[in-house]
Subunit: 254 residues, 4 copies
């Protein structure tokens, strides 16, 4: 069995498509954003990517049939002037090992090249360790020109953030993309790091759709965000009501 198996359902004819990656990661921000975009623009699946670098696992669908864990590629043709054809990458997992990550990113870039991709956007979350009302969207890019372009549409660039760099597919597609001469931008929504974060996904999508000149509805994401908000509020309430030991009671610790 090959390391990575790509099965094409169709090979769409695309004009210099923009490639958007949203795989699972911090707060599942990238995955939530890319899946929402796919739903809203009715993108069409055209390929499955299976790999030994994913867990040896299947999921069971609601009807009892099964699905081997994978990554999936969708496309959408531009609908009006000022838009680009799109390829969208989503999936159940990222590669489990560093080597797997490099090999998968290399295959993704090969596919991007094959379809004549002009630019890559990778979507992710940036864990800041606390809840934020209005998540910023941090950016990083393969050239200064792209940085300037992103600043204009609302991305934040900071001398210090993201401090630990960008790990995984969202980072590698930029790093290896640059080596192969493909323009690439990473958009990272601020997120606590403790919950899946649809609000952060919405913030990322707002920057991305502006860049792509697409208008979409955010109602679904906002509904999910409300659900999460309710859960987190309850947890905070519970925490506040837990009686803590008084200092006296713990005297024996010193």
């Amino acid at each position: 069995m090959e390391e990575i198996v790509t099965q094409f359902i169709e090979k769409p004819k695309l004009e210099k498509p923009v490639f958007v990656e949203g795989l699972p990661g911090v707060g599942n921000v990238g995955k939530l954003a890319a899946e929402h975009l796919i739903d809203e623009i009715d993108a069409v699946k055209f390929a499955d990517i299976y790999s030994k670098h994913f867990p040896p696992q299947i999921f069971v669908n609601e009807d009892g049939t099964i699905k081997l864990v994978n990554n999936e590629l969708f496309y959408k043709k531009a609908e009006k002037g000022g838009q680009s054809d799109l390829i969208l990458l989503v999936g159940d997992y990222q590669g489990l090992t560093p080597e797997g990550q490099y090999e998968l990113a290399d295959v993704m870039l090969g596919i991007a090249k094959e379809f004549g991709t002009s630019r890559i956007y990778t979507l992710g979350g940036y864990a800041v360790g606390k809840l934020t009302e209005k998540p910023k969207v941090y950016g990083a890019a393969t050239s200064v020109e792209l940085v300037e372009e992103m600043k204009k549409i609302g991305a934040t660039f900071s001398k210090t953030d993201p401090s630990g760099g960008i790990v995984g597919a969202s980072g590698l597609l930029l790093g290896l993309g640059k080596m192969r001469g493909i323009d690439a931008i990473c958009l990272m929504g601020e997120t606590s790091g403790y919950f899946v974060d649809p609000k952060s996904a919405e913030a990322v999508l707002k920057v991305l759709t502006k860049a792509l000149n697409i208008e979409i509805d955010f109602a679904e994401l906002e509904a999910k965000a409300k659900q999460i908000d309710q859960i987190t509020s309850k947890i905070r309430e519970l925490e506040e009501n837990i009686p803590r030991p008084k200092k006296d009671d713990l005297g024996y610790i010193g």
Copy 2:
């Protein structure tokens, strides 16, 4: 040394055999079930599978001779109309790494294809975290038709279970089998996840033997189930007799 070495003792001539997998896993349900079936139908070993993906380990037999850890294949010719020839896969271990799991499943499917396998059953346990009197047998399959067929003979299909999907050989043989166009079904016995579970293995075997139109005796499995029951009862008794701290004694915790 090759990654996986298959040594055939003989190459039996089989007519569209059904392939049954029962490797170690949750509650050892699949292994117990497949080994019991092999014993009851007097299946014959025809191949050993050794691999770098298994631990570097030998077992010592009662007579002081040794056995390198492996997987083993057995076969049984159909004895009457309405039955199928069978191939049965059992073993000491599953592959240790995700890559090893994929490579081993790929080899198993190659062997299944070589013998003209018409259908695969994989057997396993589904951990529910508590003891159950009458373990259900959950199913998953590569097509809706197979799901319907399994429902008729007593398998349970649920929109939510197994919630985490199916991990390891029992999952991969379905996932990769589907890619290769082989019909495959996974039968999972409910089990606590804390003990080896012959009772769950019996439940799985009852569904499987109905599907295979085979009648076997369950006395051995039931005896093992009784032994386990005695051990778990004792543990529960012991737990109940452990004096627990009264609330007052723990006042200092708050």
Copy 3:
């Protein structure tokens, strides 16, 4: 760089040599035994084995020069009738991964075959979790004939021990050796599992030298055993003098 690099210093002409393995493991029993044997019979080093499966590490010699971690092969020609030529394998480490273990054992067997090896002895420790005055030497072998032969010279064969099988090079050389048609025996000295155990190594060597018809001195090993005995006695004394909390003091735990 190749996975495993064997550098021969010389290629000795040996007559059906017996191959003895003593790599690091439980209680370092095998390593202590093989190194003691090499010293006592003045065996000559003839090859170095380096590998990516060992740690990326060098040792610094007393004179400030360095040594890349490795495995080493020694030989000794028979000195009188009834003895065999010997190849002895010792080293700093075993392979770090299961795959590395299999590949290294495969290379060792290739070398054994190249020199016409007639039989392999692997030496190791068997952890029993407590100190023993007179460590038994457990055996395992590739055939019933070898088991009988070993029983006659003092090896113990038990229906239940070693219960977990034999892990690492000492096991694999038997398991893979059997597949290649080489007779092989594992001798395991009982050991606590907590300390390096020269006493257990001596017990193993007494069985091995009887099998090889060699007489050697054990003074060095016995001196080392005394040092270890002194350390373990001191630890036991210390433990006995630690005042333990009285039940009353711990009343608050319940």
Copy 4:
């Protein structure tokens, strides 16, 4: 994608260059030393080394552009008699796995050979578990002659240190270098092991620059050392002010 990709910016013509390695490690001593040397002698970058053996990670520069994690090679031509041309190796990471370490060291040695390297210095830290005012510089080398040469310029050679050998690139370049017939020396600065240690890096550089007949300024390193000193002093102060439990309070422990 290849395991290791070396991209040359230029191929400088060098005369038997001395190769200096300073990758991240204990106290970051080697990295700090090599980077300081590069800055002080205005060495020129001539190659980037990317690898699947590094983490799948990019760093974000202050201007928002990105950099795939890598190792980098610099060179500096000799400026006066008695000096050598230099190649300097620095980087973000060492290989993540033992195999990766071996493969990377092998590639580094290939490059060293390609440029006619006459000698390798590897720089690192030796963790002693406590702060030291005047860190010693321990040495290790591929020959007794090199040991003597290093002793003359201030390196310490001890029969017992470094007791655990030398792990990683600093060790492997000596171990594999010796196999390929390249003279190599490791210089290790004593360091606590708890902090990055510019003072230890300075000590290492003083020995190295004497060996290379180069004079450099240490002001930058000394400034960094002062910062670290201030932090460690504060921590010690804090620790001294933490009230510890009195013996009485802990009476219940025994």
